[in-house]
Amino acid sequence: DQQVKQNSPSLSVQEGRISILNCDYTNSMFDYFLWYKKYPAEGPTFLISISSIKDKNEDGRFTVFLNKSAKHLSLHIVPSQPGDSAVYFCAGGKDTGRRALTFGSGTRLQVQP
């Protein structure tokens, strides 16, 4: 049972344009969601998070939107830069228990100069 899904394995955008990465979830019990960025041969690094009681969180060029009724979240990167080229993972987490993360399968973003 895939509780977190990223249906687009890859995305290509031009430098300076907006990148929109999407994520769907089935578990309504998540307390928060996070986006991680991963470069080849490195571990995932935290990018931005959002509480399940919010609908938007912004940090510089990165904004995450949460639509609870649709069980959907998205990451917007504006403007996109070549250094943003990486694999982006969406994850859901809970404030209690083991506090482990449930990850989607990732979306590879390629930003073309």
Binding site: Y32, D95, R98, R99
Partner: protein, 113 residues
């Protein structure tokens, strides 16, 4: 402050061999995790620990064992390696705050032939 460190970076095992993947963190985090990432997939939880002396299974624990004798160290033991254990292994840690993010190590790429 080194964060989360993992050794080795790469390893090739023969079927039936055993090995221990090392993980250490210097952030005094109580929670530690082992994930594996197969190609095109998200990270899946193998084992986790909520503090020294306390460990429990995640979603994919078969073929693995862990121990947590100190806050800093969380080694993962593979007994009788099988080709299905070919994967990239990530160790992570987090603090006890409500929405504390997980910090990941650089990963160990394991191939079982």
């Amino acid at each position: 402050n080194a964060g989360v460190t993992q050794t080795p970076k790469f390893r090739i095992l023969k079927i039936g061999q055993s090995m221990t993947l090392q993980c250490a963190q210097d952030m005094n985090h109580n929670y530690m995790y082992w994930y594996r990432q197969d190609p095109g997939m998200g990270l899946k939880l193998i084992y986790y620990s909520v503090g020294a002396g306390i460990t429990d299974k995640g979603e994919v624990p078969n073929g693995y064992n862990v121990s947590r004798s100190t806050t800093e160290d969380f080694p993962l033991r593979l007994e009788l390696a099988a080709p299905s254990q070919t994967s990239v292994y990530f160790c992570a840690s987090r603090g006890t705050g409500g929405a504390d993010t997980q910090y990941f190590g650089p990963g160990t790429r394991l191939t079982v032939l």
